[in-house]
């Protein structure tokens, strides 16, 4: 939930009990004031009755202007009724219930004891109380709602720099050139946030760049000592003074160093792809490229008795990086050759929308979702660096393509599908390029 809505909701939730209890309290207070007032009137009427009676002792009790609201009964001399005020209803002429206040009290007039009951209608006042309460509470709610709307509107404006900043952060890529472009705000808090974030991203970017340069420099720096070691081993290999078993040790060291060199070169390539050091802006006839690469691998497939079936649609043009595309194709084919069965098959097909490479092979010795991870490899396969498919994945994502892997256990077939999001053109026979989106 947005902070804005949350604020408004909190205000509402907090104000709701205030509104309700406040309304009730208001009603009760006004009601109490009115009842006090009515009781006061009743009391005054009682005094008035006594006064009139005593002023005009000759007149009969009935002529004292009594109406249905006054009831006078004689009582014994010892009887004493303290004044009691109660609320009650009486039936009106139309049969409706009308609120009344009743005062019942013993009254001594001219030495005689009476019990007097006085009734006072206060229906109107009651209704007024209700109306006042409703109006006040209503006004309160309307004001509250208006305040909420105003706060919402003002906040929207106030928070705009924040949302802009969020957008900028979302667009920001640490691996791409350019600073975090923070929006300008006059709000102190946002100014501080912008300042902090700018400093923070600058720091992280610098760290990233130096890390990046470090990986690259490390890869390069490692090559020279390797060259020295390998060169010396090469010289040792030519020595006539070494025993055959020593020579084999020299050779094994050479092999190990060569692996280290390959590993470092491959990591360097991965780093470079990660760092976007390859610009994808060439139009490449991938059909021709793939045909050439396939021909290169025929030697290995025939040596392993593999059946290599290819179906390459001609003249498919993609916007890609030529060197990376070659590595992509080569790594996928290499993978299909290396992890195949003796006498197995490879099915390769290229269409304007996708490349598919299917090979027979044992099922993966690790979970399929690790297939494209760095250094996930078949422990039985020593030559593999475990980086080939990681590179494939990086190249695919750099080119905005998509790769999918499936394994069909019953036929022992691994399928790799590379979907090209945008095929520039499929050249027609007269080599006229027709633009076409897939």
């Amino acid at each position: 939930m947005k902070l804005l809505n949350k604020t408004v909701l909190v205000i509402l939730v907090v104000m709701l009990p205030f509104g309700l209890t406040g309304g009730w309290l208001l009603y009760k207070l006004v009601d109490y004031a009115i009842i006090s007032d009515v009781d006061e009137q009743l009391n005054r009427r009682m005094m008035h009755l006594k006064e009139r009676r005593e002023r005009m002792p000759d007149r009969p009790l009935e002529s004292l202007g009594l109406d249905s609201d006054v009831e006078i009964r004689s009582a014994g001399p010892a009887f004493h009724q303290p004044p009691v005020y109660v609320s009650d209803f009486k039936r009106g002429r139309d049969g409706k219930k009308i609120k009344v206040r009743i005062l019942k009290s013993s009254l001594t007039m001219l030495g005689k004891n009476y019990v007097v009951t006085l009734k006072q209608i206060y229906d109107q006042q009651q209704k007024l109380t209700w109306n006042i309460s409703v109006i006040v509470v209503g006004t309160y709610w309307i004001l509250l709602a208006l305040t909420g709307i105003v706060i919402l509107q003002i906040s929207k404006g106030l928070w705009r720099p924040f949302y802009e900043l969020l957008d900028r952060i979302r667009e920001y890529r640490i691996d791409q050139p350019g600073h975090l472009n923070v929006p300008i705000s006059s709000t102190a808090e946002f100014k501080e946030l912008n300042h902090t974030l700018t400093a923070f991203t600058q720091y992280v970017t610098n760290q990233y760049i130096s890390q990046r340069q470090f990986s690259e420099n490390a890869s390069h720096e490692i090559q020279t000592p390797l060259a020295i070691a390998l060169g010396n081993l090469d010289t040792l290999m030519q020595s006539n003074n070494l025993h055959e078993s020593d020579l084999r040790r020299v050779y094994q060291s050479k092999e190990a160093l060569q692996r280290l060199s390959n590993l470092s070169q491959t990591l360097l390539l991965l780093t470079k792809i990660d760092n976007h050091q390859f610009v994808v802006n060439s139009q490449i006839n991938v059909s021709a490229m793939l045909t050439e690469i396939v021909a290169m691998y025929k030697e290995f497939t025939s040596h392993q008795n593999l059946h290599f079936h290819t179906s390459i649609q001609t003249d498919i043009i993609l916007e890609a990086h030529p060197y990376l595309m070659e590595i992509l194709f080569a790594n996928l084919i290499k993978n299909a050759v290396r992890h195949n069965l003796d006498g197995g098959s490879i099915y390769l097909s290229l269409t304007p929308s996708h490349l598919s490479i299917i090979n027979t092979g044992q099922c993966l010795p690790f979970p399929a979702d690790q297939l494209f991870d760095r250094f996930s490899k078949d422990p039985a396969n020593q030559e593999s660096t475990g980086l080939g498919l990681a590179i494939v994945k990086q190249i695919v994502s750099l080119h905005n393509m998509r790769i999918q892997y499936t394994y069909a256990g019953e036929t022992s077939k691994h399928t790799f599908l590379v979907f090209f999001e945008q095929t520039l053109a499929v050249k027609s026979g007269n080599s006229e390029e027709s633009l076409r989106k897939v």
Binding site: H220, E221, Q223, T224, L226, A227, I228, A229, L230, G231, N232, D234, T235, M237, Q238, E244, L247, R248, Y251, K254, E255, L257, Q258, S261, N262, Q265, L268, M296, Y297, E299, F300, H303, Y323, A330, K334, V337, R338, E383, S384
Partner: protein
């Protein structure tokens, strides 16, 4: 060229590597002058005209590419081989665009350097088409033909490449790794011992069939050597 030692200028700042290359190149009949800095290298080019300059790109006092620029601007005819630890396409393209004859990435096998140097030298003296001769074996790079005692020997493309590499590095033990790297490059990891063995067996069989002596000897578990012994 055959009789006279090739005059080489080696510019490499890593002393251990420079010493190694110097001794290897001298063993193979070249005369080597070694300098450890760009400035030292440039000074040498002013003193003497070399047949070939082997220059590292990453030198402490500047880029080896600068030396190539200077050499080319002075219209010196020395051939140029770049050796670099930087395996970047851009460096390679710039280097070759500037007029370098070859570009080797560290680490490289010494027989590979030897093969590249020989091939650069053959081009320099317009002898790239001159046949390579090893006793009765003659290889014609221009036509891709191989002859034994004037009788043609039919080789496949890969067999020809292999033999070419052996003939540029005679009497040297070429280990399997070096051969695989030379012939299969990026795919050397796919080239199992098996595949090299098959090729070598086929070449040797063709030698026998052509009545050619057993020039190629197997060093078990290590590699092969082209030798008369």
């Amino acid at each position: 060229m055959e009789n006279q030692a090739t005059q080489l200028l080696l510019i490499e700042d890593e002393k251990a590597f420079a010493v190694l290359l110097e001794s290897y190149l001298q063993q193979h009949g070249n005369h080597v002058t070694t300098r450890y800095s760009l400035q030292g290298g440039i000074e040498q080019t002013l003193l003497k005209e070399f047949d070939c300059i082997i220059v590292d790109i990453g030198l402490p006092d500047g880029s080896g590419l600068e030396l190539i620029r200077r050499v080319k601007s002075r219209r010196l005819t020395s051939s140029l081989i770049i050796i670099s630890a930087r395996n970047t396409l851009e460096d390679k393209i710039i280097g070759l665009d500037l007029g370098a004859d070859d570009y080797l990435i560290k680490p490289f096998d010494l027989p590979e350097l030897n093969a590249r140097l020989k091939s650069v030298m053959r081009r320099r003296y317009a002898q790239q088409d001159a046949p390579l001769i090893f006793d009765k074996l003659v290889l014609y790079p221009a036509t891709g033909q191989v002859k034994v005692d004037q009788r043609p020997l039919l080789l496949t493309q890969k067999e020809y490449e292999l033999l070419f590499f052996f003939m540029t590095n005679p009497d040297q033990l070429l280990d399997k790794l070096t051969i695989a790297k030379q012939v299969w490059g990026y795919n050397m990891d796919l080239a199992s011992n098996d595949i090299l063995y098959t090729h070598m067996r086929n070449i040797r069989k063709k030698f026998v069939d052509a009545g050619c002596p057993e020039y190629i000897h197997t060093r078990y578990g290590l590699g092969y050597i082209l030798t008369m012994a």
